[in-house]
């Protein structure tokens, strides 16, 4: 099941570009918005479009209802006359784009590949688009789109109402405190812990105990990551960030089988399976000890809290203790989403790429106001999509993990 994944050659991230994330981008059309991130990534890498061999492009299906947007967007991403691929895999799109670009470079087919993820949610109808991911026979008539109260309900059953609600809100406020430090954030409220009880009670309910404050925004924005082969990366960049490994775990789109058949014997989630397999094949025994930062795709605070135990292989109430002890804050034991995460900005087709891009900036030490203290040698980044599937990335500052690996 867990075959050794050996790359044909090493691949590094050598450039990152992000627009600001906002609900108000009336000043630019889609290719113009993408062009902002493309220009910043090229500048960051010190390259021009002449250096780019291939462009991979993606966003959500149906969201802006443009068929083949990659063709329109060549005037923004510079793909004219180049190799180009379009990928659309739901929420994971941004991470899948980086996976694909990594594979394209590692294979030897291309030396320098640019991945472009974008979304302009203000132009479309997000929940309308999302509800159509449900299978049209048995689920589409009976679902709530991206808004689900199931995780809150499970966690309250498991840990008790008071502690579970406080932990989810503590995590929400932690993330907002990070978002305030990131100038690209769409939403940063300046929340504080003395608002916890009020928010737990009075933030409008969306589905069960999933409240408005817990949920991500609908954002406009684009993210671009440029990747290169080891040979090129060493020539072009003095801060290459190495893509050590990545894993994708897929599953059926179905709420009936998504969480569990049986509460007493819950199936592992795709997040847990991804983490177990990725860490096992890379010899990582204790992810909390090993990684210096984690950029997680956390569409809501309840999901964020629940999923941290999957990604860090936590048991029992460890995750609650950790959030209560500030372990996930900047300066904590294992900072999670120093960028503010998805609850602070969610331009969906870009969101999972932003996780990888932000993790790379942390490794480089270039994250600015939300840079975590200390050396960042090992970073983890996750993507999430559909009603449950996972892409998980490991980034490294140095190539030293390969010693003795042959």
């Amino acid at each position: 099941m867990n075959k050794k994944h050996k790359k044909n050659r090493n691949v590094a991230i050598i450039g990152v570009g992000q627009t600001v994330y906002s609900s108000h981008r009336e000043d630019v059309n889609q290719p113009e918005m993408i062009h902002e991130a493309v220009s910043l990534a090229l500048k960051d890498a010190g390259l021009t479009m002449d250096d780019i061999d291939c462009v991979v492009h993606g966003n959500m299906e149906l969201f802006e209802m443009v068929h083949q947007p990659d063709m329109w967007h060549t005037i923004g991403d510079g793909a004219y006359g180049k190799s180009a691929f379009r990928l659309t895999t739901g929420g994971t799109t941004g991470a899948t784009l980086v996976s694909a670009a990594d594979n394209l470079v590692a294979s030897g087919m291309y030396d320098v590949v640019m991945a472009v993820g974008f979304e302009k949610l203000q132009e479309g109808h997000t929940t309308g688009g999302i509800t159509n991911m449900a299978d049209p026979l048995w689920t589409r008539h009976l679902q709530t789109g991206a808004l689900t109260g199931a995780t809150a309900s499970y966690m309250i059953q498991e840990f008790g109402e008071e502690r579970a609600k406080r932990a989810a809100m503590k995590h929400r406020i932690d993330m907002d405190k990070h978002a305030v430090l990131n100038p690209n954030s769409h939403r940063s409220f300046g929340l504080d812990y003395d608002q916890m009880d009020d928010l737990i009670k009075n933030s409008p309910q969306l589905a069960g105990e999933l409240r408005l404050i817990h949920m991500c925004s609908q954002s406009d924005g684009a993210c671009v990551v440029i990747m290169a082969s080891e040979e090129k990366a060493k020539k072009l960049s003095n801060k290459p960030v190495w893509i050590r490994d990545h894993i994708t775990i897929h599953r059926e789109e179905n709420f009936s089988t998504m969480f569990t058949y049986d509460m007493d014997e819950r199936d592992p989630t795709t997040h847990r399976v991804a983490a177990e397999r990725l860490f096992e094949r890379n010899g990582i025994k204790d992810p909390v000890e090993y990684f210096n930062v984690f950029e997680m795709y956390d569409p809501s605070s309840w999901w964020g809290l629940d999923w941290l135990r999957d990604f860090f292989l936590l048991e029992g109430d460890e995750v609650l203790t950790m959030v209560e002890s500030d372990d996930f804050k900047i300066g904590g034991k294992i900072p999670v989403n120093p960028s503010g995460g998805v609850t602070s900005a969610n331009p969906i087709g870009a969101t999972a790429m932003i996780r990888v891009a932000e993790a790379a900036l942390q490794v480089r030490g270039d994250a600015g106001g939300h840079q975590v203290p200390g050396e960042v040698n090992h970073a983890l980044a996750s993507g999430f999509g559909g009603t449950y599937w996972t892409v998980l990335f490991m980034l490294e500052k140095n190539l030293d993990w390969q010693k003795g690996e042959q």
């Binding site: 981008r25 630019v28 059309n29 062009h35 060549t74 923004g76 302009k120």
Partner: protein, 151 residues
């Protein structure tokens, strides 16, 4: 009836979602000129020596930002190719038969697609000179330029 398909049900589905597209600053300026001044503007790439209409922020060939290099174009142009549309569809701008043509305006390098009216479809020819007719009511779309007619 094919007995193999007996009792195989069809579950109906329908998508009807609202969308809105931002034209951006460059596209908005083009639309405002059409609506308020009845003038057609293109943008020129000085490097490639090409004038694009409708406008765009970047030249697709050399990737230069050309959004400020506005050029006023003639409201008259030449048909470089055309089709007579003979089928009916909800997405089509006119009832069939009608003419969709590629029209190269004076001063532009890229021909633009538009409707040709005021002539029987059978009589349209490549090379024919046509002139823009602007919409009486603003639509805030490319249809502020309503159609072209033979000069």
């Amino acid at each position: 009836m094919n007995q193999e398909n007996k009792d195989c049900y069809v579950v109906d589905g329908k998508l009807a979602l609202p969308y809105q597209y931002f034209a951006g600053r460059t596209g908005s300026r083009f639309l405002i000129s059409l609506r308020d001044k009845k003038k057609i503007f293109g943008v020129k790439c000085n490097k490639c020596d090409k004038v694009f209409v409708p406008p765009r922020q970047t030249c697709e060939r050399c990737f230069e930002n050309i959004s400020n290099n506005w050029v006023e174009l003639s409201d008259t142009g030449e048909i470089v190719n055309f089709s007579v549309v003979r089928y009916e569809g909800k997405h089509l701008p006119r009832k069939p038969p009608f003419v969709l043509a590629l029209i190269k305006l004076g001063g532009a390098d890229t021909p633009m697609t538009h409707i040709v009216e005021g002539i029987e479809p059978e009589k349209v020819e490549v090379g024919m000179k046509v002139k823009a007719t602007f919409s009486d009511e603003p639509t805030n779309t490319i249809l502020d330029l309503d159609h072209f007619e033979p000069v």
